[in-house]
Symmetry: C2
Subunit: 354 residues, 2 copies
Amino acid sequence: MRHNFGAGPCILPQEVFKQASQAVLDFKDGLSILEISHRTPEFEAVVDETVKLVKELMNVPSGYSVVLLQGGASLQFSMVPMNLLPQGGTAAYLETGVWANKAIKEVKNFGTANIVASSKADNYTFIPKGYSIPEDSAYFHCTSNNTIYGTEMFELPETNVPVVCDMSSDIMSHVVDVSKYDLIYAGAQKNIGPAGLTIAIVKDEVLGKSGRGIPSMLDYKVHIDGGSMYNTPPVFSIYVAMLNLRWLKSKGGVAEIEKENIAKANALYKEIDRNPLFKGTCAVEDRSRMNICFVMENPELEKPFLKFAEENGIEGIKGHRSVGGFRASMYNALPITSVHALIDLMQTFEENHK
Amino acid sequence: MRHNFGAGPCILPQEVFKQASQAVLDFKDGLSILEISHRTPEFEAVVDETVKLVKELMNVPSGYSVVLLQGGASLQFSMVPMNLLPQGGTAAYLETGVWANKAIKEVKNFGTANIVASSKADNYTFIPKGYSIPEDSAYFHCTSNNTIYGTEMFELPETNVPVVCDMSSDIMSHVVDVSKYDLIYAGAQKNIGPAGLTIAIVKDEVLGKSGRGIPSMLDYKVHIDGGSMYNTPPVFSIYVAMLNLRWLKSKGGVAEIEKENIAKANALYKEIDRNPLFKGTCAVEDRSRMNICFVMENPELEKPFLKFAEENGIEGIKGHRSVGGFRASMYNALPITSVHALIDLMQTFEENHK
């Protein structure tokens, strides 16, 4: 039995793999999902259902559009200022990790990023709070979950400026009030589907105000008007995302999966805090439910523990090189039995090292 | 038996579907190709082999880089001027169809597109020849195959300026001398693999000269330096492309598939020219081997023929709405038996309408 704690691309439900595998052989009338035109009614239905499921699962209010894109969050780092930042304007950015920092760096081609708060000096081990966002910011940008450091933002700051959020690694893991955001984007490869797809949820009224000429493929409006079919979309990634969102709906939706995610995270953090061999790496109140980072009190035991884990079917828990130690990523599709398997292993390791 | 003549995304070899389907269930140690990290050695090997196969199959000379991207040719329409056109500069474009025209339109954000020749007035039924390219053009851009109209460019004009080619729909269908080009790009979803992947072959020395700030994700150099892993790549599309390129290599490579493509195209054009019910739509010397467009002498027979074809397992031959009639797309993976099935049907239809 394998337990996939990888940080992404990551585990998806086993039934999704089965359905996807079948569609590669026969999607309709003996034709593979890999050889059908994106303009067939059958695939247009897939796009429609995917968009509908995103709206339904996230309770997206009217006045927002959902678009299916390519290029990951990394392309969004440029698309956001390109679409929302007037020439020479300033946007407020919260610096909570490497990905936030990459978003900040891309602003330079379009205007200025004003870093309103940062936890960089503490290796991003907490989410800054109590900062203020200048009223004349074109928008405020934040990263809701920081995969490398294991921090997560559960509350937005009070602000009147449009809020943009990179929700790549915790989208659909807990209920969010979409009406508080003006633009949400996410690479699919955590809770939505396989790599190769990006989702954006855009409040229509924030678009068309930058006064800048925008290349068609980088213009949210073009993709909205084209119904996510302005050009050939990533057909298979969208199809698998649809299967996965169907699975999430069948589980009871985001509110239900949130309960599971809380139970999974609580169980592992409890063990980290209890077990004298291990300790967490970031501020308790900012602990991520998606990426749980921890180290060992005795660093010399880290290699043996990693080996022990891998020998017992625990995959992908090696921490990012900038933090070290361990990172257990526990996205929606990771069953709680996998979390228990890891906890059992930590306890056995403790017994073996008494 | 189905015969998939769709224009794209299109047919791939059946053995590729089988291998891809299996990898969705188990790529390594029971883990799906959809749940593995792109940073695993196993997937890094997939990227390396894909790039190596492109270089080998196309005989890419040293001094060129092959990169795996996202966004399709449509994003290349902007990336090309962004990377190669100095601020306010002019590039020469050959207008041979809707896709060429879309490329032309994207130049406006960066400089000027000088249309050196066009067949627009004749609904793009031929490839212009005998035009001249101003020496001070930043580059010359052409589209080697025009899917909608069924024309293909088999010769490049003589020029000293860098040559950029959108080879999306005929890449690897016939031997090209890569050394005559400075930048070749192609959406994967014809002869390379499934939708969601784009390939670019770039002569390294043409980069870094535009003097413009380029967003990281749109900078060829960034992707070259990142080994096509600057950010999370479209894992599954790359994997299937690798399988498909392996298949092409096992068939004897591009030179061998070119012979098959010539045989397939010759057979169908011969029937179009012989059968009194049908006629070709474009200049004989510019006829595409990939997309074969034809109409009926009596337009009233088109609906009945389409119905007859569909009833007999011929998929996807309805012509593009801007041309009408029929379009038989015959990419690398389409077996010659499918072409014979279509020819048989045309002959039966002729018999039935004597």
